[in-house]
């Protein structure tokens, strides 16, 4: 750095400052992408009544069918042996039913349908390195597979452990999860599982209406339901909500707070990068130290 002058230093520093200011001007809007304001008041949801579901598993069959997987013969789905163990959504089949005992009335066990909850403040949308996930205005959380790099951070982030990954593929492995039948609902059709459910355990509608319906049911049948809608407030609210006859923790629902899942990490991220001020301040500070210590050295050199 012998030949370097103070003017060089200022010139380059100014250039960096200018670039950074440019970046700053461009980014704030992007940073707000996951804020709840984009959600429509009329966004859709599904109310799952676990006390009504009879465990016919037609929703599982329909899910595979509408997503183009080999669903097999629908009659084989009446086989109840699968309830012997707890199952999770798979790469080819985004929803499963699990059975739980009903102590109040043992002949009608509870069935819990598992699929993506379509959070209002989704962790996957916040986490995704390339922003492949989107929370649509209408409620669905979908993803653009062409953007995906397969880092699996969405799987780490998801509080419900929903996304799955095609580990067995060397080329174009994909993230998979329930897409709320995004394409079907755009055409005015019901989501596959809701469409086929023979007992109306699943109710598709505007989320705010579903909350009213759920509250009414809990009020009318206080013996049938515990007084809680899972998904009403959990992790900031979800599009899919559940009614149950026994405590949700006994039905393997995770214990979650009402704070949105990405809240803490986003505030840290935006704190560190608040309009690029902290990094630039650090840069300036270090530049100052570098300059001062260098001059000190020069002075002591002259005195010798």
């Amino acid at each position: 750095m012998g030949k370097q002058t103070r003017r060089d230093f200022l010139k380059v520093t100014a250039a960096i400052g200018g670039t950074a200011a440019g970046i700053t001007a461009l980014t704030p809007k992007q940073a707000k992408a996951a804020s709840p304001e984009i959600l429509s008041e009329d966004r859709m949801g599904v109310l799952v009544d676990t006390t009504v579901c009879i465990g016919c598993r037609r929703c599982e069959w329909m899910c595979k069918k509408v997503h183009g997987y080999d669903a097999g013969d629908i009659e084989t789905y009446s086989n109840e042996e699968v309830f012997g163990r707890m199952r999770r959504p798979q790469n080819e089949g985004y929803t499963v039913l699990n059975r739980y005992d009903n102590t109040k009335n043992p002949i009608t066990p509870y069935h819990v349908k598992v699929q993506c909850m379509h959070c209002d403040r989704p962790a996957c949308v916040s986490a995704c390195i390339v922003g492949a996930f989107t929370k649509t205005e209408k409620g669905a959380v979908i993803w653009d597979t062409d953007k995906c790099i397969g880092c699996r951070y969405c799987m780490v982030a998801c509080p419900f452990q929903i996304p799955t990954f095609e580990y067995d593929k060397a080329i174009e492995p994909d993230i998979r999860k329930c897409d709320f039948c995004y394409e079907r609902t755009a055409e005015g059709l019901l989501p596959g599982c809701v469409d086929i459910c023979p007992v109306e355990a699943l109710t598709y509608g505007k989320r705010r209406d579903l909350i009213t319906i759920a509250e009414k049911r809990m009020k009318l049948y206080p013996d049938r339901y515990i007084n809680r809608i899972f998904g009403h407030t959990e992790v900031g609210g979800t599009s899919w909500m559940y009614l149950a006859g026994k405590d949700f923790s006994e039905l393997d629902f995770p214990k979650l707070s009402d704070a949105p899942a990405p809240g803490v990490s986003e505030s840290i991220q935006h704190g560190i990068f608040a309009y690029f001020v902290p990094p630039l301040a650090l840069y300036a500070l270090l530049g100052g130290i570098m300059w001062v210590t260098k001059n000190k050295e020069k002075k002591s050199g002259e005195e010798e």
């Binding site: 750095m1 012998g2 030949k3 370097q4 060089d8 380059v12 520093t13 980014t27 992007q30 940073a31 992408a33 996951a34 707890m86 999770r88 916040s126 986490a127 995704c128 390195i129 390339v130 922003g131 492949a132 953007k147 995906c148 790099i149 397969g150 880092c151 699996r152 951070y153 799987m155 780490v156 982030a157 509080p159 452990q161 996304p163 799955t164 990954f165 095609e166 580990y167 593929k169 060397a170 492995p173 990405p262 803490v264 990490s265 840290i268 991220q269 935006h270 560190i272 990068f273 990094p279 650090l282 840069y283 270090l286 530049g287 570098m290 210590t293 260098k294 000190k296 050295e297 020069k298």
Partner: protein, 412 residues
């Protein structure tokens, strides 16, 4: 003070029995690496839908970045604070950081499912994602490291360009390019030196932010909103021990006299840095009252205790002792303990602490995962050895007393 010392390429036999052993480890790892790219992640790793991240992220990436911290901490000390005494350590530390980050990038490419899309974050932005921040910072810093390394390339080949065969015609032009490069770099290098330190501070902390979004899936002994700060402080603390360990190891391997007095005085910084880290770690534990989990006897509490006692408290005591700092063996052991502590901390944060719902099994790395991780470390050692034998990196005594490192960054 080291006026008769000058960085020059090390003259030594490349292959020794030890080096051949390391080469075998590297080759073994590359076999599994090939299998991963041919048959997919599932064929080689024990990862599944419950455990999406394993040691390739926890060790190769997170610990790899932390252990490359020697590069920016030494650069800050030598070039920003202008402590000329440590000048001799800057080049080896820079080389370690450069190779370290190169292998971090390779590990990311290995771990992500669609490795050929690794460039996507450059144009597809998500400012909310901690991983995006880490990705962009690591890519930028890697570029900065390559630029910071360039002076060693120009110094080695300026006026000595001798391309083989018909390429000879380009000799003059390449030499010209090197000269221009050398002059330009000399003027602007300070920009990259400061940028390197800033970028390091940013992503060293953001790697800590990564697991925060996992929320209750992460064990409360490690899950805390101050994780980014803890990651940054531990990176500060592990930087100098890495430089000390490497300097001692390469001196021994090449049969040279270690820079004992420089290393001993560098070691004085480690105690306070470790102490600050320990204070924040304990403070956090008491504020969140997470120490109650230490009363349970399970994998998490045992791993946490080992991490803190063996990896932080014992080396802290050692580095505070002048007798330990004065002896090569003491310095070496204490440095290894700090490195082990940070390595274990990253492993604990990303692997041990992660406890997903809906599964009874736990993750243990497969032979393939371990082989690739060891293989990358072995390759890094082999490349480090090759680089110090080709480029002027390690300072050695030279006969002429007036010669000085011509292209050193500090004022002439």
């Amino acid at each position: 003070m080291e006026h008769n010392h000058k960085p020059i390429p090390v003259k030594h036999r490349y292959f020794t029995p030890g080096v051949i052993g390391i080469a075998i480890v590297a080759a073994f790892g590359m076999v599994f690496l090939l299998a991963r790219f041919l048959f997919g992640l599932g064929a080689v790793t024990n990862l599944d839908n419950f455990y999406p991240w394993g040691i390739w992220i926890g060790l190769d990436v997170a610990a790899g970045v932390a252990l490359a911290a020697g590069g920016f901490t030494t650069a800050a000390l030598g070039h920003i604070w202008h402590r000329d005494k440590y000048e001799v350590l800057v080049r080896p530390a820079l080389l370690t950081a450069m190779l370290g980050y190169t292998f971090v990038a390779l590990s990311v490419v290995t771990d992500i499912g669609r490795w050929y899309s690794v460039w996507h974050p450059l144009i597809m932005w998500n400012g909310n994602s901690a991983l995006f921040e880490v990705g962009i910072c690591v890519m930028t810093y890697l570029t900065v490291l390559y630029i910071e390394f360039l002076p060693m390339v120009t110094e080695r080949f300026m006026g000595r360009v001798n391309l083989p065969g018909f390429l000879k015609v380009f000799n003059k032009i390449v030499d010209k390019i090197l000269h221009v490069l050398d002059r330009t770099l000399n003027k602007v290098m300070f920009v990259f030196i400061i940028a390197g330190v800033v970028l390091s501070c940013l992503h060293q902390s953001s790697i800590g932010t990564l697991m925060i979004i996992a929320g209750p899936k992460m064990h409360p002994l490690w899950q805390t909103p101050v994780l980014p700060l803890l990651f940054l402080l531990s990176a500060f603390a592990v930087g100098f021990p890495m430089v000390i360990m490497e300097s001692l190891a390469s001196s021994r391997s090449f049969g040279m006299k270690p820079e004992k007095d420089v290393l001993s005085s560098l070691a004085r910084f480690v105690g306070p840095l470790l102490g600050i880290y320990l204070a924040f770690k304990i403070g956090d534990m008491f504020i969140r009252e997470s120490f109650v989990y230490l009363a349970e006897l399970n994998t998490a509490s045992i791993m946490f205790t080992i991490e803190m006692v063996v990896g932080v408290i014992i080396p802290l005591r050692m580095f505070l002792s002048p007798a330990v700092r004065a002896s090569s063996a003491g310095l070496f052991i204490a440095s290894i303990l700090v490195i082990f502590g940070v390595l274990l901390n990253r492993f604990n944060n990303f692997v041990i602490a992660y406890d997903p719902p809906y599964t009874d099994t736990s993750y243990f790395p497969s032979i393939g995962e371990i082989a690739v991780t060891l293989g990358f470390v072995a390759l890094e050692i082999l490349l480090f050895r090759a680089f110090v034998m080709i480029f002027p990196i390690i300072s050695q005594p030279v006969k002429s007393t007036i010669q000085k490192a011509k292209y050193a960054i500090k004022g002439a």
